[in-house]
Amino acid sequence: MKLKWNNDPMKSPLGRARGLGSAKEGANHWMSQRITAIANIPLVLWLVFSIVSLKGASHAQFTDWLAHPLNAILMILFIISTFYHAKLGSQVVTEDYIHNEGLKFVKLIAQKLFFFGLGIACIFSILKIAL
């Protein structure tokens, strides 16, 4: 599927090319992916260690653990860093493999909303337990 603005017969070749070049946000995307990757290393190791020690924990034990400020803060940082990293990575995967312009457009927006929405839901849940 071609998007409407790609085959407008009234457009000159220059008009078509304009706005189709670099969006000038590639460097920011690349750097954000690396920065979240670095942050993810200690956060993920902390989460794995926590999950291992929380194995079989009751609801009361789990909420007590998450109510500790250090755990709540680290959990929120974990959510922000990993969900943002996942958003950036899945965006590249979609851009590389989905060649149908319309589907790509919808999928990119859906992914953004998915990680933003799910991330906010997680942070709200952490705050509700911790506060």
């Binding site: 690396r34 990757a37 290393i41 999950i51 079989g56 996942a86 990575g89 799910l118």
Partner: protein, 132 residues
């Protein structure tokens, strides 16, 4: 620019993925993407766990019983392998970003180290989980 199907058919095609012999470096690269996608889907499990705990004790118990039934445990095991692989190979990527490990020999050595690290981290985490 429009082109007739006949002209299009005569254009040379770049070799497709299946033409190449799979090499360790390319296989690890595609693993990195596959594990990344699996982990992105795994955010749902993390969200379920947190939202359930914030909702009620019974919602939390449902999530806990899913995690401890065989299918749930298998899924979590799969995610743990994906996580440790993506973590280890991600560190390899960060070394490349800093300009190291570009020689073919060192790219391979680091690749084997990633596989070893994945096995050791997975085994270590599950040993601690099961011994706990």
């Amino acid at each position: 620019m429009t082109s007739s199907p006949e002209i299009k058919a005569k254009r040379p095609l770049s070799p497709h993925l299946q033409v190449y012999k799979p090499q360790m470096t390319s296989v690890l690269s595609i693993f990195h993407r596959m594990t990344g996608v699996a982990l992105a889907i795994g955010t749902l499990m993390v969200a379920w766990w947190l939202i359930a705990a914030a909702t009620s004790e019974s919602a939390y118990n449902t999530a806990q019983s899913f995690a401890s039934n065989p299918i749930g445990t298998l899924m979590i095991f799969g995610w743990s392998v994906a996580l440790f692989y993506h973590l280890s190979n991600g560190v390899r990527h960060l070394f490349w970003d800093m300009g190291y490990l570009f020689k073919i020999e060192s790219a391979y050595k680091a690749g084997y180290l990633v596989l070893l690290s994945t096995v050791l981290l997975t085994a270590g985490a599950w040993y601690l989980a099961l011994a706990n």
